[in-house]
C-alpha cells in the first residue's frame, strides 16, 4: 500500500471519494479502480496501472476533470476571520486565527479546494500556478503530449 501511496500526488483533495490519499491507496490495494485521481494526471494512472498490473483507463468523469495546477488565494478584504477554511484545510496551509485575516501559504497549498466550500463569504479563488522555475524544453514535434507536466496537477 505504501508503494501505491507513493504514486499518488498527496493533495488530499478527496475527489476520489476517499478522505485523503492514503485511504484511496488502501482502497486501490483492495480492488478500487485506479482512475479516480484528477490531480495525479495520466502519469499517475499509468504508473498505478503498471504497479497493480491493470489496464490503463481514462480518468473517471465522476471524480472530476483534469485541470491546471492551482493554489487557493484568499481575497483578504472580504475575509471575515471565521476560521472555517483553516479547519477544512488538510495540509494546514492557511495562516490565521479567529477574527484575524487569513492567508494561504502558496508553498503548502496543494490546490485541493476543500476550503472553497466552507467559506461563507466565498472569498477564496483557485488560481492556476506554474511551479516549474522556467519554461521547460519540449521534445521535438510534441506540443502537448500525454506525459506533459500539464496533465499532472501538482
Amino acid at each position: 500500500m505504501d508503494q501505491v501511496n507513493r504514486l499518488l500526488p498527496q493533495t488530499q483533495c478527496g475527489r476520489c471519494g476517499f478522505e485523503g490519499c492514503r485511504p484511496y491507496a488502501r482502497a486501490i490495494v483492495e480492488g478500487e479502480s485506479i482512475n479516480r485521481c484528477p490531480p495525479g494526471g495520466t502519469d499517475t494512472i499509468i504508473h498505478l496501472a503498471n504497479l497493480m498490473n491493470e489496464r490503463r483507463q481514462a480518468l473517471d468523469p465522476g471524480a472530476g476533470n483534469y485541470q491546471l495546477p492551482t493554489v487557493a488565494v484568499i481575497r483578504e478584504a472580504e475575509c471575515i476571520g471565521c476560521t472555517l477554511c483553516i479547519q477544512a484545510c488538510p495540509l494546514d496551509a492557511i495562516l490565521g486565527a479567529a477574527k484575524l485575516m487569513h492567508t494561504v501559504f502558496e508553498q503548502e497549498c496543494s490546490g485541493c479546494d476543500l476550503c472553497v466550500e466552507p467559506c461563507p463569504v466565498d472569498c477564496i479563488d483557485m488560481v492556476p500556478i506554474s511551479r516549474d522555475s522556467h519554461l521547460p524544453w519540449q521534445a521535438p514535434g510534441e506540443i502537448r503530449s500525454v506525459y506533459n507536466p500539464l496533465n499532472s496537477m501538482s
Binding site: 478584504a77 486565527a97 496543494s110 511551479r131 516549474d132 521534445a139 507536466p149
Partner: protein
C-alpha cells in the same frame, strides 16, 4: 602514455591523454582574428539583467532615477549563485523592469535599464600594486566584490567556485583557453594581445585557491597565442600545454581528462578530485579586478558570421544590445537568417535581436543560409552508432533517444542521461538529422519536474500527517474544554513542536469561544460583506491586497 610520447619524441608539452569520442568540425575562426581587439563605443541604452547567468537574481541596490558612475555597484550578490553587478558606464538608471534576455525562449527577466550619458565617469578604483601581498581570503573577497563569474559560458560565480574548491584542496588549476567550439575566437584574441595579463590573472587565481600547480591549455594550431603565452610564461611557475584540435576537448570534464587522465565522478564537481578549471577570460577579469581594481563590466565578444562585413573581436560592455553590435559590424540583412549567442554547437539561437550581451556571451554569430543550411527533416534512427562514437561522455545516444521518445525515465537515468553535457556532437554527426540534444533536454526537464513533484508530494504528505496528528490530539483533549470547537492553530514555518506549544496558548482563548457566539458573528459578517458587495460594482480587490 607520457612515456610512450617521450620515447616517440613527441613534444612533451602536448597533452598525453585522449578524450572519448569527439568530432572534427570546421573552425570558422580566421575571419574574426584578422584584426585586433576593438573597444566598442558606448551605446545609449544598456540593459543589465540582474542575473548574468540567468540563474539567481542579484539584489538591486539602486532605484529608478538614480545617477550612477562607471564601476559603481548596482546589485549585490546576496544569495548563493548570484553575481554582483556593476555599471559599465556612467548614466541614469531609467528603470528596473522586465526585459527579454538572451535565451532560447525569449524569457523575460528583471533588468536594470541604464541610459548612458556619454561621459563614462568612473568611480575611484583602487589598483593593487602587488597582489602577492594579499592573502587568499582577501583575494577571494575582492573577486567576489568584482562580480566575476565564469566568462566561458556557464557563468558560475567565481568566488564561490574558488571557495568550494578550497574546501576540498586543489592540486591543479587549469586555465582553459582551448575554445574548441567553431566560430568563437574571443579567448584566442585576448591571449594574443593581452597574454601577460592573462598569465598574471592565472597566478592570482592560483594563489586565491591555494592550488599547487597551474597549467594553461591551448589548442596546438593557435600559433600566435602560443607564442604570446610562451613569452609571458618565461618567469612563471605556470606550465603551458597544447591539445590536439577537436570538439569538445574544451569542455570542463574533457579538458580534465585530457590533461590529467582522471575523470570527474558523475554528479560531482571537479573540485572533488582536486582540480579547478577557469576560462582564460575569467583569468583576465580577475587580473583587472585585482591589479586595476576594476570590477567586471566588459568582456571580449566575437562578432562573426557571413552576413557581417567586418567580423572581429570586440571588447564589449555588458548590457550592449545585440542589434547595436551587429550594426557596428555592418550586417547584410538580406543574408541574415538568424542569430546565435555562443558557438554553433552549444549556442543559443535567439528569437529577437533586442537582447543584451551578458557576462557569459562570448560570441555572436549572424547566421546565413550558406553557413547554416536550413534543417533537414528528422528521419528514423538507423542505429548506425555514429553518435556513440562521437559522444565525449561515452554514452549511448541512440539508446537515450529511444528512451526519450518512449518517456522511459528509469532507463534514461540508468543509461546516464544526466551525464550528458549537451555538447551536440551526437546531433552533429547523426545522418538522420535527429535533434538529439533537444530530446535529452526535454527528458531532463521532465525528470526534474517529476522529481520536484515527488518532493512536493512527500512534503504535502508530511503536512497532512501533522494535520491529522494535531486533530487527533485536539480530540483527545476535547473533554477538557469548556465548549465549542477548537480553533485552528496559528500556522508558521517552525516545525511541529512549536506549533503545538502555540496551540496550547490559543486553546485557553478558544476555551471561552462558544459555538453560538461564533455562529452569530459569522452571520453578521456575512451580511456585512453581502451589503458591501451589493453596494459596489464588481471591484477587483486583489490588487489592493498585499499578501501576508
Amino acid at each position: 602514455m607520457r612515456l610512450v610520447n617521450r620515447l616517440l619524441g613527441r613534444r612533451s608539452d602536448r597533452a598525453p591523454y585522449a578524450i572519448f569520442g569527439g568530432i572534427a568540425a570546421d573552425a570558422y575562426k580566421t575571419r574574426s582574428l584578422r584584426s585586433r581587439l576593438m573597444p566598442v563605443p558606448i551605446p545609449e541604452q544598456l540593459v543589465l539583467p540582474l542575473s548574468q547567468n540567468l540563474g539567481v537574481d542579484a539584489v538591486a541596490i539602486v532605484e529608478a532615477g538614480d545617477l550612477v558612475q562607471k564601476f559603481q555597484l548596482l546589485a549585490e550578490a546576496d544569495e548563493p549563485g548570484s553575481v554582483a553587478l556593476h555599471a559599465p558606464t556612467s548614466g541614469l538608471v531609467s528603470s528596473i523592469s522586465n526585459a527579454t534576455v538572451a535565451d532560447e525562449f525569449g524569457s523575460q527577466r528583471l533588468c536594470i535599464h541604464l541610459q548612458s550619458d556619454g561621459e563614462d565617469r568612473p568611480i575611484e578604483t583602487v589598483p593593487e600594486a602587488d597582489y602577492r601581498a594579499l592573502d587568499h581570503l582577501q583575494l577571494l573577497e575582492r573577486i567576489e566584490r568584482a562580480g566575476i563569474c565564469g566568462l566561458g559560458g556557464a557563468g558560475f560565480p567565481s568566488a564561490q567556485k574558488l571557495s568550494l574548491g578550497m574546501k576540498s584542496g586543489i592540486d591543479l588549476l587549469i586555465i582553459n583557453a582551448v575554445e574548441c567550439e567553431p566560430f568563437i575566437s574571443a579567448d584566442e584574441a585576448l591571449i594574443r594581445e593581452r597574454g601577460a595579463s592573462v598569465v598574471v590573472g592565472a597566478e592570482i587565481l592560483k594563489s586565491a585557491c591555494l592550488a599547487s600547480n597551474c597549467i594553461i591549455v591551448l589548442q596546438e594550431d593557435r600559433a600566435d597565442a602560443i607564442e604570446a603565452l610562451k613569452k609571458a610564461l618565461e618567469n612563471s611557475s605556470i606550465e603551458l600545454m597544447t591539445l590536439a584540435a577537436g570538439y569538445p576537448v574544451g569542455g570542463e570534464k574533457q579538458i580534465i581528462q585530457a590533461v590529467t587522465g582522471m575523470e570527474v565522478p558523475s554528479h560531482a564537481y571537479p573540485a572533488s578530485i582536486g582540480v579547478l578549471v577557469f576560462n582564460a577570460g575569467t583569468a583576465y577579469a580577475v587580473y583587472k579586478a585585482i591589479a586595476d581594481g576594476e570590477p567586471c563590466v566588459s568582456r571580449i565578444t566575437t562578432l562573426t558570421g557571413a552576413p557581417l562585413q567586418t567580423p572581429k573581436n570586440f571588447e564589449t560592455l555588458i548590457g550592449t544590445s545585440v542589434s547595436f553590435l551587429f550594426d557596428l559590424c555592418g550586417i547584410d540583412t538580406t543574408r541574415h537568417t538568424g542569430t546565435i549567442v555562443g558557438g554553433s554547437l552549444m549556442g543559443i539561437q535567439l528569437l529577437t535581436l533586442d537582447v543584451p550581451v551578458m557576462k557569459t556571451s562570448n560570441c555572436l554569430i549572424a547566421m546565413s543560409a550558406a553557413e547554416f543550411p536550413p534543417d533537414e527533416p528528422e528521419l528514423a534512427c538507423i542505429r548506425c552508432g555514429f553518435c556513440a562514437e562521437a559522444c565525449p561522455a561515452r554514452l549511448l545516444p541512440q539508446q537515450l533517444y529511444a528512451f526519450s521518445r518512449a518517456h522511459d525515465h528509469e532507463q534514461n537515468l540508468a543509461h546516464g542521461l544526466f551525464d550528458c553535457i549537451e555538447c551536440g556532437a551526437c546531433a552533429y554527426v547523426c545522418p538522420s538529422h535527429i535533434p538529439l540534444v533537444q530530446y535529452y533536454r526535454s527528458s531532463k526537464a521532465e525528470i526534474r519536474a517529476q522529481q520536484r513533484r515527488q518532493l512536493q508530494s512527500q512534503h504535502w504528505q508530511r503536512q497532512f500527517q501533522q494535520h491529522q496528528y494535531r486533530i487527533k490530539k485536539q480530540q483527545d483533549e476535547a473533554p477538557h474544554q469548556i465548549s465549542g470547537d477548537a480553533v485552528g492553530p496559528v500556522k508558521d514555518d517552525e516545525p511541529a513542536k512549536k506549533n503545538r506549544s502555540r496551540e496550547d496558548g490559543d486553546k485557553t482563548e478558544a476555551a471561552v469561544f462558544s459555538r453560538e457566539r461564533a455562529k452569530r458573528e459569522i452571520a453578521e459578517a456575512v451580511a456585512r460583506v453581502r451589503a458591501r458587495k451589493a453596494g459596489h460594482i464588481a471591484s477587483p480587490r486583489t490588487d489592493a491586497e498585499s499578501d501576508g
